[in-house]
Amino acid sequence: MSKWHLTVDVAKCSGCGNCQLTVKDEHIGNDFPGYAAPQPPLGHNWLKVERYVRGNGSMLDVTHVPKMCNHCDDAPCVAAARNGAAYKRSDGITIIDPVKAKGQRQIAEACPYGVVSWNEDAQIPQIWIFDAHLLDQGWSSPRVAQVCPTGAIEAIKCDDGVFAGRVAAENLTTLPAGVQTKPRVYYRNLSRVTDSFLGGNICAADGSGQIENCVGAKVELSIDGTSVGACVTDGFGDFKFDGLPPRATYRLQVDTVDGRAESFQGVLEGSRNLGSLFIKRTTAKSEMR
């Protein structure tokens, strides 16, 4: 049975807001009986783009994550609904019936992702409906995929088994929510949000005392006593290790191209740019907090 899935590559999301504006364009002032009642003119974001910033100083990275109804197969909202007010279609899309769901605030409160909006005026819970009403008219994909300028959002209709293959092959993950709800929205590169990085800059004084960046220095990282890999500083003397746990002890062993060596260690609590690590003339240990 062919069902709908959505993938979002957060490494490609520019935070332009096109998707967020498009959901509003589709639903503000429009009533789609059986699918969704109109969205209120302001203050409701059935799809919202959230920003995550890692780092400090001049080494940063930013990840934008569009969040919307995940159309979960094991949906807590469906479980919480009375009288079949929320249900799953055979193509995987979740619908909250705009008439039957009246007064059922618990449907909104049941969502572990916080993506069900409560419409106070109409007294109904509302979600991004995957543009089911348009797909039923023959549109080939939901509007959010159409308006994304970077191709971060992709909608796929296929067998769940086929999609599971993609999840494995592309290392897709879902939003962490503390419960397993079998969502249909998968993310690529979410590690940019869930993992930490450790980075810095290697510099040293040259013969005349002028400070220069150490280009091409080898930097080896150990996390909690175990080596996790090495990299080489770039043209600005910078290095960056990613995919690290949020809390750990680290040790960096630096070897410059002109034969200087130094190590730095400390405790990692979230992503960190250590800034400029100055390599002295002689080999010495340095403690970095």
Partner: protein, 998 residues
Amino acid sequence: MMKRTLHTLALTALLRALPGIIKIAARRDKRVRDHLVSSDCVVQIRLRDGSCARHYIFRRGSITARSGTHKSPDVDMVFKTAAVALSMMRPDPDYAVVIDALKNFKVTAGGHDKQTVWFGELMNKVAAAGWKAGTPMKDGSMRYTALTNGGPIFVYVAGGKILRTTPIDLDSTDAPSWTIRARGRTFTPRRQAVPSPHALSLKSLVYSEKRILTPLKRVDFDPHGARNPQNRGISRYEPIGWDEALDIVCGEIRRMKRQHGPGAIAVFNPAHHQWGNVNYWLSALLRFGNLIGTTRMAFSPISWEGWYWGAMHHFGNSIRLGSPGFYGTVEDCLENAEMIVFWSSDPESTSGVYAGAEATQRRQWAQSLGIEFVHIDPHYNKTAQLFGGKWIPIKPGTDPALALAIMHQWIIDGTYDKDYVERRTDGFSEWRDYLLGVTDGVAKTPEWQEAETGVPAKDVRSLARAWSKRRTYLGAGGAGAGFGGACRSATGAQWARCMVQMLAMQGWGKPGVNFGNLQFGTPMDLNFYFPGYADGGISGDVINTASVMHNYNRMPHLATINPVKQQIQRQHFPEAIINGKCTGYPWDGMSLESQFPSYEYPLPGHSPVHMLYRYGASSLGTVANSARMIEAYRHPSLEFVVNQSIWNENEVGFADVVLPSCTALERWDICEWSNSSGYIVHNQNQLNHRMVLMQNPCIEPLGESRSDYRIFADILTRLGLGAMYTEGGCDELTWCKRIFDSSDLPKVVSWKDFLRKGYHVIPPDPDPMKVPVEMRWFSEGRKKDTPEPSPLPSQYIDDFGSGLPTQSSKFEFVPNSLKRHEARDPRRPALNRYIPSWEGPNSGTEFADFPLQLVTSHPPYTFHTYNDGKRSTTNDLEDHRMLVGGYYYWVLRMNPADAAARKLTHRDVVKVFNGRAAVLCAVDVSPLVVQGTVKAYESCAEYDPIQTPEGVVDRGGCLNLLTPSRSISSTADGIAPNSCLVDVRRWEFQGATERVAM
């Protein structure tokens, strides 16, 4: 004799058939029916020798025809000969013939202007009867097309209401896309007109509760009694009818001329508004102003400041206002560049200009090819956020110091292009001596600039080495070749000059060495003609638009001339009114020297301004030190202010009479995406696909709003100028057809097909016809071969096409043009010395009082003020406005260290203030802004002054109330909003909401 008799017979037959023709058209088309019932009049058509005469009595939609003359016809059309009559009275006349007949008085129209226009419009609607537009959809809705500031869209309409707007996906019948081959890979763009956020909030703007639905009059304004100018911005409004509104406006126009004389009426418009070649300000508004005689609001090259007042002197491109060109650079960059330095360049926010998000995919290609990105900006901006790369944070306004140090390093390392400098440039030894400290004893080393910029010396050396070692593209400014950012500050000219000097030192024009950030320079047919908005539309203004270049002869129409030569520059308008005079330096791109002479207001012998016709309402968010505008509005010398706008926002509330205009989705128009023409020749070269579009009236104008064209026609008709303005009753659809016919489109698509589909994609040229690369010819010592209609022939020193339009014909490190001028302006030396900003960290006590540098740049989610505020969906984008305590505040971005020092946390409401004003914002605390700088966007549409215990404060977010009105230097008349010192404090009075009564 025979021919004359045949013509007369044919004419007689036509005149007999006319009522029938009209009735058939009326049956076919509601537009004709509606028009027919809208007026009763008698229209007479005759030949001058009296040999043929017929008149028509239009009454309640019926037509009665009589032969012979009527004793008092409302319209009396007199043709010299039957041949002339027949050539004009056709459904699709040759307008060259029509205009000739009008200009040479081969036809005259007596009687009443209003009915003449009515009859002409009727005949145009008859000719258009049955024209079909729009595509019916399966669900019963109709799909139309429109062009927005963020790109083209489809508009779906059902039941007279806009259902939705979507991007346009190209279909299989549209022209094929190009492919670039670079580094062994092929790149073909997505087949969609890719929109930016400016395109997608449009429905919410059209239906905004801030739409002005009726004409309005200030309750305490009486044109025959007390006018109370001191209450502008405070008084309430009452709705009035169009007749009363237009009576007041026309009465004031007449009174201004009679009581004060020429120059008393000023017309003031925004830089950019809705698209449409008919309704654009350079078209309908200019034609209107010329037929009245007005003091023009002259623009300054805003967004080009440092390029126009500085950079152009080194290399030319005055017609591009000093910004570099871009031909062929997308392919050259993908094929040859190894690094792109984005210097004050954030195209993911600014979309080039008008280009939607088309270039984002091209930057993704560059990233996939391993081309490295470096970002120099106080803000880790949206482009840096998306693509990553090395961020070099810098103190605003100090960029020239960094550039000087990089150039110094190239000299020390010997890593500049010595051969290029030797052969293609002039004055390098003087420049080198300045960099090395020979001239002033200060070597411009990386260590020298460190205290000034905050950039570590070691990083300057690393950047200089990477830059010279690799083939590097310089994306300077948002467009990659100009615009915004660092060029609009006290050091803006110094910075832009450094940018071109740096490229000249690295071999500008050689493979992989050019200006750009992939925003401009796609493969495209640039020879196909369609007019851009600066080509003047229907204005007929051959002096103040580029009309004379193409449009004026390709679309025969009546010229209009404004005999009033008095002008006031936009940023000097407040002092012109308050002080009664001002001077400035006008925008003139004809030569390097055109910017040197000053102008004065009032012009000798002219009346000062006493009436302001304000078209649009954007000043308070976009003019530097905009509080001066408020003072000007209340000045007693300004006797009458009329504002023509779509929404009730910003400065609309300062008018005496308000005229409601409609959005681009409520009227006919035609235009090409991103085609500005004029000073931005080939602006559409940012796009992946060239597209011309019809703009359909998707819905009826809301309330009593009317199109701009209609409003101007209605005013002028009351002054007896309606037939002249409308050229005998052309409505907007007829003008669209005339514009279509003037272009190359009829060669490739029929009007009916174009109208029905709503757009046409112009195919790219095949590969062998590639556009040559910008400055490649210059680097190779050949003649210019890019398709750019500049410089002017006389500006070449040697043969036509050889060299640059500088005195030496080379790139000049120390420009001769500035040498001829520098004695008059010590802050504008020919030698591009670093002179620190006059409002910045070197400003002594001012800096001690206001220790934060505010930078405001073009916003990502709204095109200028268009999409902001008005309770549009844009409000709900948290990066644009934050909802705190029930109010949508403008966002100010601040570094955590600066926030901690002020005990501020993320989302606090803060007061941003200096000696000029105070504005409330919501603070976004993050490391994305360097310490010492606060970053926001400009172009706030909402001016919301509230009375508070700390005085009047703007809650809407118009940060331009804080920026200085001082120009870059005394003769470099560019604005410098990015040299602005402020401080920020938590706002304690969130309960205060009372709108101001000063």
